[in-house]
């Protein structure tokens, strides 16, 4: 068995040196992970396990911080910090607010 993330030694192609600008939401994901870990509400290894078990297809489709937020969210629900219901309602609410003309 070999995790999809466990890539050391695989024959992959040229290294893409393009650099994207970090968006605020990405930095916030990173910040939340650090803050939550400092408060003992998640460990870096929980974050990593969540990413490692996304499955190759999802892993490939998602960007780096999309994988992070998917994993952090899962860990928080797993630990009962937030519920699936709360999350679903709030995501819908945020989505509606984002559509409103500003």
């Amino acid at each position: 068995m070999r995790g999809y993330h466990d890539v050391g030694g695989l024959s992959l192609g040229p290294i893409d040196k393009d650099q994207h600008d970090y968006a605020l939401w990405e930095k916030r994901v990173d910040a939340m992970l650090v803050l939550l870990a400092n408060k003992g509400l998640i460990t870096t290894d929980e974050l990593r396990l969540g990413i490692e078990t996304l499955g190759a297809d999802v892993y490939e489709r998602l960007g780096y911080y999309e994988r992070w937020i998917a994993s952090i969210t899962r860990a928080l629900v797993d630990r009962g910090v937030i519920t699936t219901d709360e999350l679903g309602r709030r995501m819908a609410d945020v989505g509606r607010r984002a559509q409103e003309p500003s």
Partner: protein, 101 residues
């Protein structure tokens, strides 16, 4: 935990391929190298990944491998090496004797 190994010891990485959160890369399993330093003792990430505390902390080693022994087709210089941090439960003495466990 008292470290089982010390710098200079020849060790072999266990050939085991469990699922779960493992910090011993696939490519190094079954390979032999030399302990370069003891890094200290740390909680086991395999357990931390599931929200457990990973205690007792166990020794973590940096093990140095010769590239030519890790990759059969390595084309760099003979002295090129690869240093990896490996937890104690993943290494055994590289005595050549069969591991009874």
């Amino acid at each position: 935990m008292t470290p089982r190994f010390k710098p200079g010891d020849a060790v072999t990485v266990r050939r085991a391929y469990p699922p779960g959160h493992i910090r011993t890369p696939h490519y190094i399993r079954g390979k032999s190298g030399v302990v370069e330093r003891i890094c200290g003792s740390f909680a086991n990430p395999e357990e931390l990944a599931y929200g457990r505390n990973g205690l007792p902390a166990q020794p973590l080693y940096r093990v140095r491998f010769t590239q030519g022994q890790v990759w059969p087709d390595y084309t760099g210089t003979a002295g090129d090496s690869l240093d990896i941090e490996i937890y104690e439960h993943w290494i055994e003495p590289a005595s050549g004797a069969t591991d009874a466990r």
